[in-house]
């Protein structure tokens, strides 16, 4: 059993290899590790790579460097649960920090969700996604389509599939934080819609206490009824909650209004009925609710379409989301 420090470095090396499109060598891995807060020399990296090869997690490709194996990918998904609990929130924090969307210029990087869909179902899927977008249960009507073989962040669009990219609601947190407002992401939830109005949450999962993404949990359990909500105004859609200090409420609302003008429309202005004393247990903070950008994707599950949703998966230049659904 290797100690936890070493284990973290090994896992980080696997992550670097997974995120790379091609085989990479020890020097580049050492450089990436340095950027990620693991200052390790090239020689030590070589030593770790031999260890990873031995375990069957990586494989050497001639002189080009190494790639991750199937077994290595599996290990990456399972290793060190203690580090991965709240891993969702770590990933969000990192992406939120890197968001660079400018409200005035309307350019910069935003956070995205990616769904991969069987090619045969793609036309039906886009129609349903468009219906969801029209009803307003989303972050932005602008999307991007991906081709088979495309890779974004850690998401690979398999052969025989096509990809759909939507804007993720965490983009809003990026905007708030860039304006000096400490937005703190709390829960992903199922929001009940009645008469086209959001009423209350029926289930919540905190981003802090899970190694799985809450939105993905609700989606895979097929607890949503987004299409019905879009068509008849009654149903359950995905949303999330963050808090900001009460002193910053006014400025936040101003920014959220500006965001709406800039095409980021997911903010739910109507206050959600006080459904859980737990949500806003802290005093002096106010809640901000947002529709999840994954709603148009989750709606596809309801049609029985085989779809894989990777929410909060990467950053993308907002200009690339150029198709209007």
């Amino acid at each position: 059993m290797t100690n936890i420090e070493t284990q973290r470095k090994l896992v980080e090396i696997l992550r670097i290899l997974d995120e790379s499109d091609e085989a990479i060598g020890a020097r580049m891995i050492a450089a990436s590790l340095g950027q990620r807060g693991y200052p390790i020399g090239e020689r030590a990296v070589r030593h770790y790579l031999v260890l990873l090869d031995y375990k069957g997690f990586t494989i050497k490709i001639g002189n080009a460097g190494r790639i991750i194996t199937e077994k290595g990918l599996k290990e990456l998904n399972e290793a060190i649960v203690g580090d991965r609990v709240g891993f969702v929130i770590t990933r969000i924090d990192e992406l939120v920090y890197k968001t660079s969307f400018d409200l005035k210029q309307r350019n910069g990087d935003i956070i995205i969700n990616v769904a991969t869909i069987d090619k045969n179902d793609f036309d039906v899927a886009i129609e349903a996604a468009a219906e969801t977008v029209d009803s307003g249960y989303t972050v932005s009507p602008y999307v991007r389509f991906l081709e088979e073989g495309d890779k974004i962040g850690a998401v690979f669009v398999p052969y025989g599939s096509a990809g759909l990219v939507t804007m993720c609601s965490m983009t809003v947190d990026g905007i708030l934080i860039k304006h000096g407002i400490p937005s703190s992401i709390k829960y992903g939830g199922l929001l009940e819609i009645q008469n086209r109005q959001p009423v209350c949450y029926t289930d919540l999962i905190s981003y802090q206490g899970t190694s799985l993404d809450p939105i993905q949990i609700f989606t895979a359990r097929q607890m949503t009824s987004i299409l019905t909500a879009a068509r008849s105004g009654e149903g359950k859609v995905l949303a999330n909650v963050r808090t900001v200090p009460a002193v910053a409420a006014e400025k936040s609302i101003e920014l959220l209004r500006d965001a709406k003008k800039a095409g980021i429309v997911g903010w739910i202005e109507t206050p959600i009925q006080e459904s859980s004393p737990g949500i806003c247990a802290e005093s002096d903070v106010v809640e901000i609710n947002n529709y999840a950008g994954a709603n148009p994707m989750a709606a596809l599950y309801e049609l029985g379409i085989s779809v894989k949703v990777h929410s909060i998966s990467a950053l993308m230049d907002v200009k690339l989301l150029n198709q209007r659904l």
Partner: protein, 247 residues
């Protein structure tokens, strides 16, 4: 409607548990699974398989026929309900003995060659309004049948922590529970040490217990439609059948 996080739901249930492992009397908490009536026999034989492999809280179970109700659980016509013991019962036993037990989370344990190795995913009770083990089951992340067949796979378990000062008493109670056929204790950690790679608070011991819902996960893996709801109610142990799974 007020939302209830699992931690508060557990708090309420745990107060009603009075099971005494020495006399095998008192109330226990149960999980409910619902299958179509025609699938009941097949589902039960899978449950027996899981029990025989030791992946269950205890031997007690109960069948509820379609159209009947039992302690707040009603089953529709054409369906059958299977009740199994929920691992929270063990927390209740510890609590009644005066140990301040803190149920923490549910998770997936990777088992390699019959040895539990580590948690690969967890969901904290104070973070969710859905039961963690229900969640993991529906995400199709388990491989209970594979674990039974090959000795390696992924099973559902829950974690609680107790103060390290209570260690001796904890060990005595767990051994009483074993004597009462409650054999689902997976791992008892060392003080201040990770439990199957899951961090435990300072001054505490972590205890991992096999989820009573593993049998239902196995049924699902075998291709039978099954609806589960963990921690669905309380029942007197006399209302449960102690031979149903072992026969």
């Amino acid at each position: 409607m007020k939302l209830k996080f699992m931690s508060s739901r557990i708090g309420e249930l745990i107060c009603g548990i009075t099971f005494d492992p020495r006399t095998s009397e008192g109330t226990i908490a149960f999980n409910t699974a619902v299958v179509a009536e025609r699938d009941l026999e097949r589902a039960l034989s899978t449950c027996k398989l899981v029990y025989a492999a030791g992946l269950n809280v205890g031997p007690y179970a109960r069948i509820i026929e379609g159209g009947e109700s039992f302690n707040g659980v009603s089953i529709q016509k054409g369906f059958s309900g299977i009740l199994t013991i929920c691992s929270i019962t063990i927390d209740g036993v510890l609590l009644k003995a005066g140990i301040p037990v803190q149920p923490l989370c549910g998770g997936i344990v990777q088992v390699t060659e019959k040895m539990p190795v580590r948690f690969t995913d967890i969901l904290r009770y104070d973070s969710t309004t859905l039961d963690p083990l229900d969640v993991f089951m529906s995400q199709e992340l388990t491989s209970v049948l594979e674990m039974i067949n090959t000795g390696s796979g992924k099973v559902l378990a829950s974690v609680r922590e107790v103060p390290m000062a209570a260690r001796t008493q904890l060990e005595n109670l767990l051994s009483d529970l074993m004597d009462a056929e409650f054999k689902g204790i997976l791992e008892v950690g060392e003080p201040n040490s990770d439990l199957l790679e899951m961090p435990v608070n300072r001054g505490h011991i972590g205890v991992a217990i096999i989820g009573g819902i593993n049998s239902m996960a196995a049924v699902k893996e075998s291709g039978i439609e099954i609806q589960t709801s963990a921690m669905s109610g309380l029942a007197d142990i006399r209302d449960m059948d102690c031979n149903l799974l072992s026969s």
